[in-house]
């Protein structure tokens, strides 16, 4: 049996203390949380910030002249600026708060897609997309007569730039691609893909839901046209996320939702829409969520990105070797360039049984199709078990998973 080398530590022992959810037992065992690709745990500072917004600055934004509203508005707009800096966008007007990645993609599909797609046009996606980067495009293709074209992935779970290039043509109007695969952990060569798409005159939307906690994102360097991500996978609250879009594109797009705050003036004859980004933020937004996301970005930013990446890569390497050394365990998704995800199958038991048994050992993993059924289809399975990493995971967590998997083998023989 291989004995993997333990990575040098970020001060993970200390930062684990920031996450109150880790201070609990499940089924009488200390919680080992290996499901951060579904949602990350939240540090105390984010929880406190959300509570503080409701406790102190509970007011609607962009509306009243009273002090609470001024404070809430200021904090909400500060949060937008934190998001801007986090993805290195040039302007705050390019950052739209949404409910999450899913809503951000739907916004682009409906607002940009319905306006610009025509019959015969093509929207390019890849085989490893999450359902939220498939279905919105299917819907708009049905509405407009455009065609959805899929770039294949390899049996290791890679998407090659050459395969992407082969599917690009003059009819391609937009490519919607994952930055990191949620089911497999593959990091896609999005910068090269974006350059190629632009050469053919196509726009690029990047689904960054799984990337933001693990990969440094710079939308200007990527030169992507849209970048979507969620707060809750980045140690922030659920129900909040953001869409980055290039200003000149957002300017030309019609509103996604109609309602309050997205207008400048309304009469029954004519409505004049508000400026960016408010044109796309109809209704009272998730104010506490946005401010909580800003705090999550501050929290995450308090660590050296290189140290985070090094730590997570080391735990991933350790986990990969540990799982590979168990007879009857097969990893699904073995791209050389991957992050934070260990999807696997066991000969002895179905993923769902694996999930129940390791849960009884205190180990939380995800089982199922991970909202990526075409990926499961590619590998000829209905489901996998998936252990995924966050900043707080250690090699000891992997050891606990391995012990739990041995329980599965004991039980199922």
């Amino acid at each position: 049996m291989v004995t993997p080398v333990r990575p040098e530590a970020l001060d993970v022992g200390r930062l684990r203390g920031d996450f109150p959810a880790l201070r609990q037992e499940v089924h009488g065992k200390p919680l080992v949380y290996l499901d951060s690709a579904a949602t990350s745990l939240k540090p105390q500072s984010v929880i406190d910030t959300v509570a503080d917004v409701y406790a102190r600055d509970c007011a609607n934004i962009h509306r009243a002249v009273h002090l609470l509203s001024q404070r809430a508005t200021a904090r909400y707009e500060q949060a937008r600026d934190k998001v801007r800096r986090f993805v290195n966008a040039a302007r705050k007007t390019e950052i739209i708060f949404t409910r999450g990645t899913t809503e951000a993609i739907n916004l682009v599909a409906q607002s940009w897609g319905r306006t610009h797609l025509r019959e015969g046009d093509e929207v390019l996606i890849t085989e490893l997309e999450h359902h939220s980067n498939i279905v919105p495009w299917q819907i708009v293709c049905q509405q407009t007569g455009a065609k959805l074209v899929v770039v294949p992935m390899t049996d290791q779970g890679q998407v090659f730039v050459e395969d992407f290039e082969r599917k690009l043509c003059d009819r391609t109007k937009l490519a919607a691609i994952s930055h990191v695969s949620n089911a497999l952990g593959t990091i896609l060569p999005v910068q090269a893909m974006t350059r190629l798409a632009h050469q053919r005159g196509a726009l690029v939307l990047i689904d960054g839901a799984q990337a933001v906690p693990h990969v440094t994102v710079d939308v200007q360097a990527l030169d992507c046209d849209f970048y979507a991500f969620s707060g809750h996978k980045l140690y922030g609250p659920t129900g909040i996320g953001a869409l980055y879009g290039k200003e000149r594109l957002l300017d030309g797009m019609p509103p996604y939702h109609g309602g309050g705050d997205m207008i400048r003036s309304v009469s029954f004859e004519e409505t004049i829409y508000n400026d960016l980004p408010y044109k796309f933020e109809a209704g009272t937004p998730n104010i506490a969520g946005a401010i909580g996301l800003g705090e999550a970005i501050d929290y995450f930013g308090s660590f050296e990105p290189e140290a985070v990446h090094r730590h997570e890569a080391a735990v991933l390497r350790y986990g990969t070797e540990a799982l590979e050394s168990i007879p009857g365990v097969r990893l699904v998704g073995t791209a050389p360039d991957k992050t934070a995800v260990l999807s696997f199958l066991m000969e002895a038991a179905h993923p769902h049984d694996v999930g129940t048994i390791v849960d009884a050992e205190g180990v939380a993993i995800r089982t199922g199709h991970h909202c990526a059924q075409p990926v499961m289809e590619h590998f000829g399975v209905a489901a996998t078990a998936r252990a995924s990493l966050g900043i707080y995971n250690t090699t000891e967590d992997i050891d606990a998973l391995v012990r739990a998997l041995h329980k599965v083998k004991e039980l199922f023989g």
Partner: protein
């Protein structure tokens, strides 16, 4: 939490070696079951002679609980009338959801699934075969999902 309560020997055995794991010919009822949560799929076929289930079999893939439940179900209902099978389903459902009394004895071998009530996330696995049976008996064709 004792996993042996859930994964009883009978369940592990039927999960690994499901009985009546074939599609009977001739048949006059068919049902398809799908659990979108975990991807479990089964196809169930029955031959009814009047009210009596004279033959039953299934094929499918899924977790040990869903496959074992379907396997033990086929054993339990073969030779029974439709009404008797329905009564079994009712009792079985009450047992795995924890809504039943302690009358598990009349369920015979099916009583090994009593442990499922401690695992609410797995109730759908244990009832997939039974829901599919229900659909085959009453709706004739189509697909039932557990969602």
């Amino acid at each position: 939490m004792d996993l042996r309560e859930l994964y009883q020997e009978v369940i592990l055995d039927h999960g690994k070696n499901p009985r009546n794991h074939r599609l009977p010919e001739p048949y006059n009822r068919e049902g398809r079951g799908y659990n979108p949560l975990c991807g479990d799929k089964i196809t169930l076929r029955l031959q009814l002679d009047g009210e009596k289930i004279t033959d039953v079999g299934f094929i499918g893939q899924g977790c040990a609980i869903s496959q074992a439940s379907c396997s033990t179900m086929t054993e339990a209902i073969k030779g029974k009338t439709v009404r008797e099978a329905e009564a079994l389903f009712e009792k079985f459902h009450a047992m795995v959801t924890g809504e039943g009394g302690d009358d598990v004895e009349s369920l015979g071998k099916l009583a090994v699934f009593a442990g499922v009530r401690e695992f609410p996330m797995r109730v759908k696995c244990a009832t997939l075969g039974w829901h599919t049976l229900n659909q085959a008996l009453h709706r004739g064709s189509g697909q039932v999902t557990t969602e």
